[in-house]
Amino acid sequence: MIFKDMMPGFDLFQPAQLQDALGLLDRFGKDGWKLAGGNDSLSWFKERAKRPKAVIDLSGIPGLVGVRETADGVEIGAMTTLSALESDPLITARYRVLAEAAGRVASPQIRNSGTIGGNLAQHARCWYYRSGLPCNRAGGNTCFAEGPDSINREHALFDSSRCLAVNPSDIAPALVALDAKLVLVSSKAERVVDTDAFFVGPKIDVTSLNCIRPEELLVAIRLPKDWAGAHFYFEKVADREVWDFPLVNVAAALVITNGVIERARIACGAVSAVPKRLRAVEDVVKGKPANAETAKLAGQAATRGARPLTYNGFKVPLMANLVMRALREAKA
């Protein structure tokens, strides 16, 4: 708190090949920093809370940008900007929930520079954590958000363990709803993980919101065919219409045949450290008619187990209502 808003020095690397970037990650390990659109990175540097020795700018690497059709669906390069995603013909035609989520991130300017990979890899926005306090997430041994007077309006309703920060991404719940696969590569290996494995809660790792290892790079996001052209719904509720993180958001994909919900994937963001997949709701609505009554039931099932804090009790009815709306308003 004493002094901020002045970036410390670092070495900047601008590799032109993926292999060079991966080599730099091997070389610098935890002292290296992956720079995508820079929206989260530069604020960390300016706050002087993160001081990498080397910053590896990924913008010059070919092949990381764009949406490609594959045998099994589509593959999105991790450096594809959110604006590109918002208007991409394949995404808007088959996976509209993702285009809508991309269109509600931050502001038009930030969407022009912000990438899908950067959005998924952004750190927790808990203001205590961002203040540079020695909290559990920062490697310390306390959570400052859990006290009776703590300022925790934006914090978690579920699954908190030593940390009450939420995943702030608007993209994340959309990817959960689409059952996306995330492609992580290092100089030695490639692995493809699903969203359950990619997003990480504090019980598994309190210091990171995702499973990307220091030597790994998120290079692509794959959307399988299973959910292409399903009924979709995305909604984000924030204080402002622009440049704001979700108070709660919801993403849903429903396969509806003859008015009956055949299968569903539904997730809410900003209620826990991972985009919360609502399996109970999915079970409740499966096989039920797609109507207002089912929607109401879905809303009632959504918030079971919520443990509101001093200031975030409003998220409980908000989450229930958003899930209800998702079921009620989802469109093909």
Binding site: M6, V242, T310
Partner: protein, 799 residues
């Protein structure tokens, strides 16, 4: 009356520079040998500096000097430049000058300070509680011009009030008129509510960077200021020099909203460091630092008791305001709010009590409609409650209480001049289609419910007693010298047109001299508080009338006859009955220089301010000088008004509010510059939307840390949060105390729109009153879900 220039749109001379990016703000200047400085600010909300170790920092290559509180003037009557007793997180303790900014930043990190942590508080109620913490060691209550004092209420005061009610312990200040008890007794309806309004940061877009250097004993300072000459005496005081040794340069200002109206202490830091190092010093204030140094609107904890007759007339009003001062001396919102209430609603009897209490939060200061803007949504929501319960129309209850021209206000029964608030309400209701829209009130469509609201506010809108200065040069051009500053509204230019109007000048032949003391700038008003247009059209009027007299006198001297034989033609003095007898203004300027004395500026009237004298000395002998103090009569207070109308759509499932339509009608007297007026009304309204819906300062009361320093967390409204179809209009009336009929406009739209938004939300919720600002999404959701609000009723600095 129709004028050639006044009331017409024009291109302000600095507009192109702003649009093309060529405008240079204080941060854009570079001087040979310039050092950069950075501030070390307090990590604690309240502490005493015990020991400072700068040795390691000073050993670093490139570090030139450290400046501590012991080396700058410490003036108990003013706010500290640097301090050894920081009273808020972010208070500047010392500054480091180095060859570049990064070095200065690295040096700051190598300085160690030993602090003694002192008790802190963010809540005036805690400070007023017996044995509660004091935000400052020299007292917990204070205002400018008063000795600080320590005030503690009785535990019984708190116990008697209970959790939801403002305790009303002993007060510092109060006034009263009329029969309060009688007023409440005869009232058909009495409302009695406690309330909270949040403290809101100014967050000016241009941070308050400053560059200073010294030449021949004078300090040249480039700064970010709303006002120009008005700040010079206090700024010179902060630097420790006489006003005539300060050259202030500030041609542009990237917004201030009141926070840059007067001199502020941080601007003096580079001046002190430049003196110490003998080199120019630049202090760039980062976005993050602007939150701490840029000040905020005062928050209130208050109680308002209102008595209404059956027709809605307010029979008695009892207002108690506890002002959150922040950690240093702030502004007088708590007094202004009461005055505004007295003006706007003309209660038959009224009492006001007020207490300004320090908290360990960053400085507070005047913000657009100080006091009145945050009071408006609170009292207007209660007016709506009364209208509902008495079965009255919500516009009608405002109209029946609204002042007419010549109305009295306050305990002393002072008189205000023009009021066209009644017309603003009536014209606005008509233009907005109030009657029709009322039919939509409460209408449900899917999850959306419609609400309509009306709100009003006022603000004093004109001062007097400042100087006007102009010059006609040998090329025949008119130079209007204006010291009022350029906060971004272009009113410095619009008011300069008053002089051109009187002297019959083509606008193309007018040069506006502003932005740099060396151009010879007169003593003008603060550019704040809706004052510029009334005040500076008067100063430019009197200077122009002085020049006019001199032009006629010179013509008579040279061409024969008496001055009354002549009149002003198109930049010429012409004999009324013999047009062949004429001289150009250029010729008159040449004669003025030859004649000397009052004509050339060698002699001045006795009542001219010292700063204007210095200005005239710089330009005397270069043309015909028009200079005069504004001694025009102004026996009555000038007040501007605004009535705003809003329709919202509230989603009962998400708490989201969309403002569908907005109209603001201002009583601003004669319109000087229509385009600028339109943006003033709409811009002020945007600020009102932020006040009503989003903005506040949040603190963790245990750790003592601020939670929403950045713009993302502070949530000023963006263009997507405001109605882009917003409409601005004005009433037809004019202000008799201004030679053109002008009065100010800037502040009232903020409070009026904030009130209309809050009232429309309340309407959509079937009359639910929050008694709190802002009305945020979480509060709306809790109300919709019949959940208790997360905050305690009088809690402050919360989410």
């Amino acid at each position: 009356m129709a004028y050639r220039l006044i009331g017409k749109d024009f291109l302000p001379p600095d507009l192109l520079a702003k649009i093309t990016g060529r405008a240079k703000y204080s941060e854009d200047f570079r001087v040979e040998g310039m050092l950069h400085c950075k501030l070390l600010t307090s990590p604690l909300p309240h502490a005493r500096v015990k020991r400072i170790d700068t040795a390691a920092a000073l050993k670093m290559p490139g570090v030139v000097a450290v400046l501590t509180a012991d080396e700058v003037p410490q003036d108990a009557g003013a706010n500290p430049i640097l301090t050894n007793e920081p009273t808020f997180v972010g208070a500047p303790i010392l500054a480091v000058a180095a060859v570049d900014e990064l070095t200065a930043a690295e040096a700051i990190e190598r300085i160690t300070i030993e602090f003694e942590a002192l008790p802190f508080t963010f809540d005036p109620m805690d400070s007023l509680y017996p044995a509660g913490p004091n935000a400052r060691s020299d007292g917990n209550v204070g205002a400018f011009g008063q000795a600080l004092q320590t005030v503690k209420w009785e535990a019984a005061d708190f116990a008697a009030a209970g959790e939801g009610k403002l305790p009303t312990g002993k007060t510092g200040e109060s006034w009263q008129y009329g029969d309060l008890e009688g007023g409440f007794n005869q009232a058909k309806l009495v409302l009695d509510e406690s309330f909270v309004t949040a403290s809101v940061p100014h967050h000016a877009l241009e941070t308050r960077s400053a560059l200073a250097y010294w030449q021949n004993g004078k300090c040249i300072l480039h700064g970010s200021s709303q006002s120009h000459t008005f700040i010079i005496p206090q700024l010179a005081h902060y630097i420790g020099i006489s006003p005539d040794n300060l050259v202030f340069v500030g041609e542009f200002c990237g917004g201030g909203f009141g926070s840059k109206g007067g001199a502020y202490p941080v601007m003096a830091i580079p001046a002190h460091l430049a003196r110490k190092t003998g080199r120019p010093v630049m202090l760039r204030i980062a976005r993050n630092e602007e939150y701490f140094l840029g000040s905020a609107r005062h928050g209130f904890q208050g109680n308002l008791k209102l008595g209404f007759a059956a027709d809605g007339r307010i029979t008695a009003l009892d207002l108690y305001l506890v002002q959150d001062n922040g950690g240093v001396l702030g502004f007088l919102d708590y007094r202004n709010a009461a005055e505004g209430v007295s003006i706007n609603y003309q209660p038959q009897a009224m009492r006001w009590r007020g207490l300004p209490v320090f908290t360990n939060t960053p400085p507070c200061g005047p913000m657009r409609g100080p006091g009145r803007s945050q009071m408006a949504p609170i009292i207007e929501a209660l007016l709506d409650q009364a209208a509902r319960r008495l079965g009255l129309d919500r516009v009608a209850i405002r109209r029946i209480n609204a002042p007419d021209s010549g109305a009295k206000y306050g305990a002393k029964g002072e008189t205000m001049s023009s009021s066209h608030l009644g017309s603003a309400l009536e014209d606005g209701a008509k233009s907005f289609g109030w009657e029709e829209r009322l039919k939509n009130s409460g209408r449900r469509s899917g999850s959306k419910v419609t609400g309509v609201g009306v709100g009003l506010a006022s603000h004093p809108a004109g001062m007097n007693g400042f100087d006007g200065l102009l010059r006609i040069t040998l090329d025949g051009k008119l130079h209007v010298h204006t010291g009022v500053g350029n906060l971004g509204t272009y009113s410095y230019a619009a008011t300069s047109r008053a002089a051109a109007e009187i002297l019959n000048y083509a606008w193309d032949n007018v040069v506006i001299e502003h932005g740099d003391s060396r151009r010879g700038l007169p003593w003008n008003s603060v550019q704040a508080g809706s004052n510029t247009t009334f005040t500076e059209s008067r100063t430019n009027y009197v200077a122009a009338m002085d020049a006019r007299t001199k032009l006629l006198q010179i013509a008579a001297k040279d061409l024969g006859g008496v001055p009354e034989d002549y009149d002003l033609g198109e930049e010429r003095v012409v004999h009324k009955s013999d047009p062949a007898k004429a001289m150009t203004f250029a010729q008159a300027a040449k004669r003025a220089i030859e004649l000397g004395g009052v004509y050339s500026g060698a002699e001045l009237p006795n009542d001219i301010h010292p700063i204007t004298r210095t200005a005239v000395a710089a330009i005397a002998g270069t043309g015909l000088i028009g200079v005069a103090k504004d001694n025009l009569p102004k026996p009555q207070m000038v007040s501007a008004f605004c009535a705003a109308f809003v329709e919202v759509e509230l989603d009962v499932e998400t708490g989201q509010v969309t403002i569908l339509d907005h109209l603001a009608v201002s009583d601003a007297g004669l319109v000087v510059h229509p385009q600028s007026l339109d943006t003033q009304i709409k811009g002020g309204s945007v600020l009102g939307i932020g006040l009503a819906r989003f903005e506040r300062r949040v603190y963790d009361p245990v750790l003592g840390l601020p939670a929403n320093v950045g713009l993302t967390q502070a949530k000023p409204p963006s263009w997507l949060d405001v109605p882009l179809n917003s409409r601005a209009a004005t009433t037809a009336g004019t202000e008799p105390q201004n030679p053109f009929g002008i009065k100010g406009v800037g502040e009232p739209p903020t409070g009026a729109t904030a009130a209309a938004v809050v009232c429309a939300i309340s309407d959509a919720l079937g009359g639910h009153s929050f008694n709190r600002l802002p009305v945020s999404t979480d509060m709306i959701l809790n109300a919709l879900s019949n959940q208790p609000q997360a905050h305690r009723p009088l809690q402050v600095h919360t989410v």
